[in-house]
């Protein structure tokens, strides 16, 4: 039995499930707001929520996509008892999560938080080229027009930022000095690019797509500001073996066995690593390049 930890509305999960049906593989899908109780029946651990009930021994593989297993933790009247029981419940919960992660899996619930700053440091350590970057709370040492700023958080959508619209924090060029200091912000050298590369990594295999975003003013800084009228040209791409090798080392170091990775191929021929997202979207490159990555995931599970 396959355990899928995902969001109820995750479209990507539906696409993988289509292939699980084709392969006739059985699965349980856990939603992000499900709360589980840990029960023991005949010495076997049973996880029970309002939607699902399964023995962890019956799970053969786990795909962590979104959300995760969450537990209904009990509270106790006596403060001291509550403290002990809190620890006891944590031990059980932690055991369940670790047991599930010890099975065949794609990414881990316990390792789902990315830290872009640490990832960049590890990328440098494995020998990947990374555009020079720094944190600052002022623009005194910013090379205007040649420096970008972007979010270090995973979530880049700001609800109700405008009267009628939500906002999104795309990568932007810093072109003006600021008079006041601001919250510590991530700055990075702007690389003149030949094209961008979006990769999907799964257990040592890498599928890549070149995105020719540099010829369009709208997409040249951030290709996610899509030009629907005249979309960027996207084509299959094969990374040089040494970059592939370094990606494998980096992903092993980060303890991710799946993820989306972004690169820039610069005009001087270098491959600059930008970031890794273990739960990134991959259906786009799967469709455009005909990689059927959703099939690869279903096949692995």
């Amino acid at each position: 039995m396959i355990l899928i930890l995902s969001a109820n509305n995750d479209f990507t999960t539906n696409e993988v499930i289509k292939w699980l049906h084709i392969f006739d593989k059985k699965y349980i899908r856990v939603h992000e707001f499900e709360l589980f109780e840990i029960k023991v029946i005949d010495k076997k651990i049973l996880l029970k929520s309002q939607r699902n009930s399964f023995y962890i021994d019956d799970i053969n593989s786990v795909w962590f996509r979104r959300g995760g297993i969450k537990f209904n933790r009990l509270q106790f009247q006596n403060e001291s008892v509550n403290k002990i029981m809190n620890e006891t419940q944590f031990c059980l919960e932690d055991y369940v999560i670790k047991k599930l992660e010890s099975k065949r899996h794609i990414n881990k619930q316990s390792n789902n938080r990315t830290n872009k700053l640490l990832i960049l440091e590890k990328a440098v350590a494995v020998g990947l080229d990374v555009p020079s970057y720094f944190l600052a709370d002022n623009t005194d040492h910013i090379n205007l027009g040649k420096t970008i700023t972007k979010s270090i958080s995973e979530n880049i959508i700001v609800k109700s930022a405008f009267d009628d619209f939500d906002g999104i924090l795309y990568t932007s060029i810093v072109d003006k000095q600021e008079d006041e200091v601001f919250f510590p912000t991530f700055f990075q050298e702007k690389i003149e690019k030949e094209f961008e590369i979006r990769c999907f990594y799964l257990n040592g295999k890498v599928w890549s797509c070149a995105i020719f975003s540099q010829n369009d003013e709208q997409t040249k800084i951030d290709n996610r500001i899509y030009n629907y009228g005249k979309p960027n040209r996207n084509v299959r791409y094969t990374l040089p073996p040494e970059i592939h090798h370094k990606i494998c080392i980096l992903m092993t170091e980060l303890d991710y066995n799946c993820g989306s990775i972004d690169f820039i191929k610069s005009v001087d021929g270098k491959f600059y690593f930008l970031e890794v997202n273990p739960v990134g979207q991959f259906l786009g490159i799967s469709d455009i390049c005909n990689y059927t990555l959703e099939k690869e995931i279903a096949d692995y599970l």
Partner: protein, 61 residues
């Protein structure tokens, strides 16, 4: 259009908030309202998107 987030917050924000973009368009918002999801037991989700095939049936014959 200036976003209202920076002026509303008492604490300082990172500089990239100055470059906040609008997400989507009025048209896409209206389209989103029209997107129909169905509950689907087979896929264990309440959000199965109802999509129309993008290839003409004649091409599938």
């Amino acid at each position: 259009m200036e976003n209202k987030i920076r002026s509303e917050e008492r604490n300082k924000l990172p500089l990239n908030f100055k470059y906040l973009n609008k997400l989507g368009s009025k048209k896409s918002k209206e389209l989103n309202k029209k997107i129909c999801y169905v509950k689907c037991e087979k896929f264990q989700t309440d959000f199965m998107t109802r999509v129309t095939p993008f290839k003409a049936f004649t091409r599938m014959l």
